[in-house]
């Protein structure tokens, strides 16, 4: 009977382990910070005529940040190119979003603009305007949804806007959690007391992943032994 129990549990635990492995290896956006989340259900456009500028403050840059993602409110092949300016705490950069049509140009719904690597973490203000001084307006995706909240304020031409501009910072292309476990644990430890670092969290994680199934199997086998079967 105990072998039967062991075999049954092994089947379920292996299926579980497969599911967990799938989650850990699933590629996700390589986010380094989210200044304001993208709209959830109701997108509110922020229209920038040539010369107009939308800014978002208190945007956290990390040494690993390479890309600023802004969402297009009207993704078509003819979206205008954006000029993105980042400044604050010793960092300054002015860059253009990728031109033409294709991934990250706005035509696919996102403007992924590469920025120079920051030397250290900094709180900055990110400003966006159309690259050309005349021509087409840029329509960016903002949100007035109650659930979309952030400490950053959005301004358009210096005036506070009720519509928050979705703005995310990335380190590059998508990657899985399993590809950078130490960084994941360091992030998790950022909120814990100083004496609980990433290594302690790794131990707790291992204890959960190995110890919980082991204790469960042991409990079942011991119970069967206590029952005399």
């Amino acid at each position: 009977m105990r072998r039967l129990a062991l075999a049954t549990m092994a089947v379920f635990l292996v299926v579980g382990a497969f599911g967990i492995a799938k989650v850990l290896h699933h590629p996700r956006d390589a986010v380094t910070a989210v200044a304001t989340p993208a709209p959830l259900h109701d997108m509110t456009p922020i229209t920038l005529k040539p010369g107009q500028q939308a800014c978002e403050d208190a945007v956290a840059l990390s040494p690993g940040t390479r890309v600023i993602r802004i969402y297009s409110g009207a993704p078509t092949p003819e979206v205008p190119q954006l000029r993105v300016t980042v400044h604050g705490e010793g960092y300054r950069a002015q860059v253009l979003s990728p031109a033409g049509a294709g991934a990250g140009t706005g035509s696919d719904g996102v403007y992924d603009t590469r920025i120079p690597a920051p030397s250290r973490s900094a709180l900055t203000t990110v400003c966006v305007q159309t690259a050309q001084r005349s021509g087409q307006s840029a329509i960016l995706a903002g949100s007035r949804e109650a659930r979309v909240r952030s400490r950053s304020t959005t301004t358009v031409d210096g005036r506070p806007s009720e519509t928050k501009l979705g703005l995310v910072l990335l380190s590059g292309g998508p990657r899985s959690a399993a590809s950078h476990p130490k960084e994941v644990l360091q992030r998790a430890a950022a909120f814990d007391p100083p004496f609980i670092g990433w290594f302690t969290l790794a131990l707790v994680g291992l204890l959960a992943v190995i110890g919980v199934p082991a204790a469960t199997v042991w409990a079942a086998l011991r119970a069967l032994r206590d029952d005399g079967v």
């Binding site: 814990d192 199997v217 206590d226």
Partner: protein, 496 residues
């Protein structure tokens, strides 16, 4: 001598229960460490309540007040570590960066800890759990707020152990000869139910209410077996008082506890003198009444009149006045609407699958934005459906045994009916009145987790031996796998 006694007691402690307690403890610590501060269900409001109570000796207020919902210290943490942004939004991330940490450290330097006087929407909650958690807050008084919040989460561990221990006892009361394995499976269904350990890893009174409710169910089952003893009857009175002092949903425990006391007194009328019975009954009622009146006084004092009883009279004037609407809503919660049935007046109304399967049996973490794959919930729904069918078959085939244990069956049914009735009435009243919010959540079913475990044990104990081993092992392994997966999904959601 003393150490020999202790050793004897330790060796008599059921080893499978010890293993399940250890597993649940690791999971609870994992949830406490890996869930960012204030990111659990309504956690900032609960934590703000504890902080206000610990700092000033008074709870926060609801409604129109001049203060702030959270203290300046907590406000700085929430703002600079991006903790408001992550609530319920899966694409948001907490602020991990060194720059945000530095900004928070600057902001928090002279920040007031005791100015979170309200408005706090949770001010209507009675103070018992918050007072309990305030002890952990005071222990960590000299440390930073995140450390105090972690200590407050870890203070839930004894409550988790009560849930699991009392679950073990409750199952043992119902199945005295079912064997250790069946009991282990039932208790494992509690200890490894992801929502149980998750809720014990965040600051929330639901785990305290679950502990008291599970203890009340275990004690009720014992009371109908052993008859009118002071410890059981007065104990039930104390548990009734504790339940309403933790949360207004604790009101659901009053009718079944009253029923149990009446049953016990009736069954003991031949063996115990009428005066003693009357004294015991009156004592239990008095204890419960003290609890209820204290809870009402404190709750209404902090949130205006009728706030505590709002759990039953609702936030609307129309709620209980529209009984056919309530019946229509309850029908549509469980089944497809019948012809002519009006849908509940809300854009999104959660039903059986969302509440019982997704939010209770499987679990949703963070602030309900961390999910398993839909296939997992589908599998759980099928398993739960099959389990319910099996339970009906077990009842039908073993009807004589069920009748022989009618008192225990009535006790369990009493807790289930009373809890579901209160939840549905409260939910309907929130739905019926503007802004027509659907406020029912799967974690509100946690006080019934021991009944769920008993039902599961009934099925496991009733099948042939080989099937029992396969079914029981499958339940335990699924619980372990789901718990670990839920924890890792949370890590990936917040930190990857």
């Amino acid at each position: 001598m003393l150490s020999r006694n202790w050793r004897a007691r330790a060796s008599a402690f059921p080893r499978p229960l010890a293993a399940l307690l250890a597993a649940a403890t690791v999971l609870s610590i994992g949830w406490a460490l890996f869930t960012p501060p204030l990111s659990g269900p309504d956690e900032s409001g609960h934590a703000a309540y504890v902080q206000q109570l610990a700092q000033t000796g008074h709870g926060p207020h609801a409604g129109d007040t001049d203060g702030k919902p959270v203290s300046s210290e907590m406000e700085a943490l929430i703002g600079w570590r991006n903790l408001d942004s992550v609530i319920g939004v899966a694409t948001a991330r907490p602020g991990w960066s060194a720059a945000e940490r530095a900004a928070w450290e600057r902001a928090v330097r002279d920040a007031d800890r005791g100015d979170g006087t309200g408005p706090n929407p949770l001010a209507q909650n009675p103070p018992l759990y918050y007072g309990y958690d305030a002890i952990a807050y005071q222990v960590g008084r000299g440390w930073s707020l995140p450390t105090r919040l972690l200590l407050m989460r870890l203070a839930n561990l004894p409550l988790l152990w009560i849930v699991i221990g009392c679950g073990w006892l409750a199952i043992g009361e119902v199945f005295r000869r079912a064997g250790v394995f069946a009991r282990t499976v039932g208790t494992g269904a509690i200890a490894l139910l992801p929502m149980v350990t998750f809720m014990s890893g965040v600051i929330n009174p639901d785990i305290a209410l679950t502990a008291v409710s599970t203890a009340a169910i275990a004690l009720s089952l014992a009371a109908v077996r052993i008859g009118p003893r002071p410890a059981t009857l007065l104990g039930l009175g104390v548990l009734a008082a504790l339940a309403v002092l933790i949360h207004a949903r604790g009101l659901a425990l009053l009718p079944p506890i009253a029923l149990v006391i009446l049953m016990v007194l009736w069954r003991g009328r031949r063996d115990v003198s009428a005066g003693r019975l009357l004294g015991l009954g009156a004592g239990a009622v008095l204890l419960a009444a003290i609890g209820v009146l204290t809870a009402i006084a404190i709750s209404n004092g902090h949130a205006g009149t009728t706030s505590f009883s709002g759990e039953v009279t609702g936030s609307s004037s129309s709620g209980l006045g529209d009984l056919s609407g309530l019946l229509d809503y309850v029908w549509q919660f469980y089944f497809s609407p019948l012809t002519g049935m009006a849908p509940p007046p809300a854009d999104v109304v959660l039903g059986y699958r969302q509440i019982f399967v997704e939010q209770f049996l499987g679990g949703e973490f963070g602030s309900l934005e961390v999910h398993y794959a839909d296939a997992v919930y589908r599998a759980l729904q099928v398993a739960q459906g099959l389990g319910l069918i099996a339970l009906v078959v077990v009842f039908a085939r073993r009807w004589e045994r069920v009748r022989a244990h009618a008192a225990q069956a009535v006790v369990l049914l009493g807790f289930v009916v009373s809890t579901l009735l209160l939840l549905h009435v409260a939910a309907w009243q929130d739905l019926a009145a503007p802004p027509h919010a659907s406020l029912l959540a799967g974690r509100y079913l946690l006080p019934l987790v021991s009944v769920f475990a008993i039902a599961l044990t009934a099925v496991v104990a009733s099948v042939p031996p080989r099937a029992k081993v396969v079914l029981g092992s499958a339940v335990l392994a699924s619980g372990a796998a789901l718990s670990v997966a839920g924890l890792l999904l949370t890590v990936v959601r917040f930190d990857a």
